[in-house]
Each structure stands twice: as C-alpha cells, then as structure tokens.
C-alpha cells in the first residue's frame, strides 16, 4: 500500500493550509504523491491521499482523471513526451517520436521492457519556436533532430 514519506506528508499538510479552499490542495498533493510513486497515480495513492487530506476519494479521482500530467498507468524512469501539435509537426516531431519508438523497440505510450523509458506523443508544450522538442520528466529539450534526441536518451543514466 502506498504511503507518503514524512517529507511528502509535511508538504501535503502545508498545501492544505496554503489556499483559501482546501480542495485547491488536491493538484499539488497529487504531484507530491506521483513523485513518490514512481511517476504514476495508482488507486491506493488516491485512497491514501483521501485519508491524509480528509477529502473524498471521488473528488480526488475526478481531479486526477481530468489532467494529463497525472499518469494513469506506470511510466518508465524517464517519461519522454514529444510534442506533436502543429508547429512541432511542421518541423518533423511526429517522425522524431516514431524514430525514438523504433530505436527503443517500443510503441508510443508503452514502457520499454527494462522500465527505463515511456515515449508519449503529447499536445502543445509551448515550445513552438524551438521545435521539435521533448520533455523528459521535468526538463525540456529543444531544437532536436531524431538523432540528437536519441543521443540525449542514450546519455541518461
């Protein structure tokens, strides 16, 4: 069963005090929990948050399911999100995403067998002037080519 670390619990408690409405802490709490649960929100995460925050599971689930940044299934150690919306598509982003999938022998939205990578094709990340780009976990990599993107992934520990 998932449980927040002491540090995570302190963060969530702080968020509960931070806003005018307690419910506003749901998104920040989901972020804290996702980081501590290998990058995704499992049902037991929601159960635990519900108890810690004293907010109904249904309410947390509603928020969790609405937003794309909360992962609904396990993702690789490196979650590689390639923006494929128009400006990026005009600059070869879709081919870049396909290249990464081909090299890593994995389909988009699935995890590599070694658990290191998940390649996702996502919508606009606000990096249209430096397309194509990818977000690896929290970090943006811009002005990529299929080769440079693959080299970046190979260089990750």
């Amino acid at each position: 069963m998932f449980q927040l670390s002491n540090e995570g619990l302190t963060k969530v408690k702080k968020e509960l005090q931070r806003y005018e409405s307690k419910d506003s802490a749901i998104i920040p709490a989901l972020y804290v929990a996702q980081k501590e649960n290998k990058g995704w929100i499992s049902p037991d995460v929601i159960h635990h948050l519900s108890q810690v925050m004293d907010i109904a599971e249904s309410k947390i689930t509603e928020v969790f399911s609405f937003y794309t940044m909360f992962n609904k299934k396990p993702v690789g150690k490196y979650h590689v999100q390639v923006c494929c919306t128009l400006s990026c598509a005009l600059n070869g982003a879709r081919e870049l995403a396909d290249h990464l999938c081909h090299e890593l022998k994995v389909r988009a939205e699935e995890m590599t067998e070694d658990g290191r990578f998940t390649i996702s094709k996502v919508e606009c990340l606000g990096s249209c002037g430096t397309a194509p780009m990818m977000q690896v976990n929290d970090r943006y990599y811009e002005n990529l080519t299929p080769e440079s993107a693959m080299n970046i992934l190979r260089g990750l520990k």
């Binding site: 005018e20 998104i27 937003y67 909360f70 005009l90 606009c124 606000g126």
Partner: protein, 429 residues
C-alpha cells in the same frame, strides 16, 4: 526592426533577478503607481486602449471597471496557462523578466484594490514556475509584496498555482475551476468573473503580457503608449512566430505591423526552395489565411477580424508548400478532440466527429459528401456551448475546407495527398 517596449532587456541574464531588474528602473513604476489613486490607474489603462493579450482582445480597463463598487474582497488572477498551439511568449516573459510581470500585477492589484493574487502557470512550465517562485521570494524580501507596500498602506499577497495539463484551463472560468480544486471545466457566463469568480468573489483574470504591459503604460502614460500601434489596436505585442520559417521566435512589434515583414524580415522568410502556402495568424484557433491574404494582412485586431480571422494570442504559425492541409487539419482536430473538457455535447461529440471524419479521409475511407459533413458539423458547434473551445475547434475546419477544398477532394478521390503524393499510412508508418 522590433519595437521593444517590454522585451528590451530580455537578452540580459541579470534581468531575471531583482538586482538586475532594479538596475533598469524596476519597481520605480510601482512607487509611482502607489502615489496615484486606484481610479487614476484604471483611467490610464482605459485611455491606453490596452486589449487583452491572451486571445480574446477585450479592453483591459473596461474589464476592470466591471468589478462591483463595494468593499467585497476581490482577486487578481494572472493567466499563465499558455496552451494555445503556437504560443510561447508568456513563457519567455516569465523566464526572462519575472519581475516585470510581478510589478505589473502589483500595480494592477492596487488599481482594483485586491489583497490577493495568483499566477496560474501551466504545470509543464517547470522552468518558469521555478523562476517566478524565486522572483516572488525576492519581491517579498524587498518589501514589494506583503503588508504596507513601500509605506503606502496597501497590502498584497501573491502566490503561484501550477496547473496539471489541460488546454481548457486557459479559459478564464476553466482556470478558476481549476484553482478551486475542481476539474478545469468552464462556467456559464453571466455571472462574469468580475462579479462572481474565484470562490464566487469578484475576480479579474488577465494574461501575462497584458499585466506586464501595465508597467510601461503607467510609466510613460497612456498617450505615449498610444503612439505605438493603430487607433483601435494601440501598443506593442509579442508575436510568437513558428512553423516553417528560417528564424522562429518571439518578436515584439507595434500592432498593425505587416504580417509579411514579420515572416520575411524578422523571421528570415521561407527555407530554401519553399514557398509560403498558409499562415495561422493568431494561434491554432484562428482561421487560416492563404498566401495571398497573408501578403496583405497587418497584425492588428481589426485587420485580421476583417479578413475573417483573428489576432488571438499572437501566435503566427507559418506553413510552406510542402505541407498537406488535410494532414495538418487532422493534427488540429486531434488536438481539440483531446482538449475538449466534455461538458457540452456539441463540443464533446463535435470535436470527436471532426477528428473521425478527417481521419477517415486520410485513411482512404472518405466520401466526397464527408467534406460537406465536416462543414455541417463545424457549423453546428459554433455559439452553442459554455465556452469558446467549440468555436475554436470549428473555425480551423471551416477555413481549411473553404480555402484548400481541392486538397480534401483530391484525398477522397485518390486516397493520397495531393501535395505529398502519398497515403496517410505512408506518411505515418
């Protein structure tokens, strides 16, 4: 040539810090503003003709004056949920000049007599969030935020809220729902946020660039600001140029600037051997212009509206002649289908059907009547929903089909792209 009213110092690394910002006169405008009355600031912003830079282009001073004239607590929300495809200017502003935004926000908050504001930043923007957080700490330490700011008796608290991935949260009432800890679904207007917004309290939602623009307006006055731009579109604007141009990037120019100069002079024009085919002038929701229209368009609210498009967020997406318009429309219908919040039937179902129909054409299963069906579905999505996402999804469809119909008909007849000569399966293995 750019006209850098806002972005003059963006290339200086230390402009990101309080010390560097103050070196360029930072927070002196706040000191000036706090000696004015709230009404004087509102009047100045009204007189400047500043219009919302996020997409809708609503006059900022007018929006502020919708607040009830009483002592009810009110909130200021900065919309930094930049998500309109093609737009990356707010990100630049937050990364390069977070204090410019904060100063603009404190002045605006004083104008509307708000004691609390939030910067709602899209969750993917980790770097801007980190930078604005740091700038907020600096501003608090320096006494620009908190109690009795610069001895004026004005109190203001400012905080950041990170979104979690939803285009719809850029819609002001969707953003309010999200900040309240709900799904980011828009709310029916009226009541407008100025009357009943965040937690049902009067709330003003302004875009990053709008709030930053308040600084030069109060610094030099409305008359100086109005020297830039056109009569109905005063001031400068940051345009995010992307797509098939040699030098994509953010460029600040006066409103009314010729689109062709933006593309060819500032953006370096098309890549070798490529010709201009189409331009989406105001973010993906703005109806597309063909090359001939693009040649004569000027970047202001009235010219683009007259041409049946819109200035929107100022995101200029340039397409060259190597692109298949059916494929590109498919890219957009996929986006809107993904981003519909699902609340209103015409949008939830309509965006799905638009995407299905374009996909079926691309996959070689299209019929000629499907092209008219696209138009019919899109027509039925306009003006029938709580927010503008449904219209935003319909407009590209209508303009793409109207202006590039031959490409859609060719795809149906031949099962392959007129431009690229290959089928969808060959395009995307």
């Amino acid at each position: 040539m750019e006209t850098k009213l806002l972005s003059e110092h963006y290339h200086q690394d230390d402009f990101q810090n309080l010390a560097g910002y103050k070196k360029q006169g930072g927070y002196q405008v706040l000191a000036k503003a706090l000696k004015m009355t709230s009404q004087q600031i509102i009047d100045e912003v009204k007189a400047s003709g500043l219009r919302g830079r996020g997409g809708a282009g609503f006059p900022t001073g007018t929006k502020w004056s919708f607040l009830p004239k009483n002592n009810e607590p009110r909130y200021l929300l900065c919309n930094a949920d930049e998500g309109e495809p093609g737009t990356f200017k707010d990100r630049l502003m937050m990364e390069r000049a977070p204090h410019q935004l904060i100063e603009g926000m404190i002045i605006s908050a004083f104008a509307i007599q708000s004691a609390k504001s939030y910067v709602y930043i899209r969750g993917e923007y980790n770097e801007p969030i980190r930078i604005v957080e740091k700038a907020l700490r600096e501003a608090y330490e320096a006494g620009f935020l908190g109690k009795n700011i610069l001895g004026s008796g004005f109190n203001h608290e400012m905080d950041i809220y990170a979104g979690a991935g939803a285009y719809i949260c850029g819609e002001e009432t969707g953003m309010i729902s999200s900040l309240e800890g709900l799904k980011g679904q828009p709310k029916l207007k009226p009541p407008f946020p100025a009357v009943q917004g965040y937690l049902r309290k009067p709330t003003i939602v302004n875009n990053v660039e709008t709030l930053a623009a308040v600084v030069p307006i109060i610094k030099d006055g409305a008359a100086a600001y109005k020297k830039f731009g056109t009569e109905k579109s005063p001031g400068t604007k940051l345009f995010s140029l992307s797509g098939n141009v040699v030098r994509p990037g953010n460029y600040e120019v006066p409103l009314g600037y010729p689109l062709k100069d933006l593309i060819y002079k500032l953006g370096g024009g098309m890549k070798p051997g490529k010709k201009l085919k189409a331009v989406i002038p105001g973010g993906s929701s703005a109806p597309v212009l063909n090359a001939i229209e693009a040649e004569r368009a000027t970047m202001d609210y009235e010219c683009l509206a007259q041409m049946g498009s819109m200035l929107g967020s100022g995101a200029v997406i340039v397409l060259d002649d190597s692109n298949c318009m059916v494929d590109m429309l498919g890219n957009l219908t996929h986006f809107y289908h993904h981003e519909s919040c699902g609340q209103c039937t015409p949008c939830r179902e309509g965006t799905g059907w638009l995407n299905k129909i374009v996909s079926s054409i691309m996959e070689g299963r299209g019929r000629l009547q499907d092209i008219d069906l696209l138009v019919k579905v899109a027509d039925n999505m306009k003006g029938r929903t709580i927010c503008a996402l449904s219209d935003a999804a319909a407009l590209p469809v209508l303009s793409f089909v109207q202006k590039f119909r031959d490409e859609f008909e060719y795809f149906v007849r031949e099962g392959r792209s007129k431009v690229r000569g290959i089928s969808y399966a060959q395009m995307h293995h």
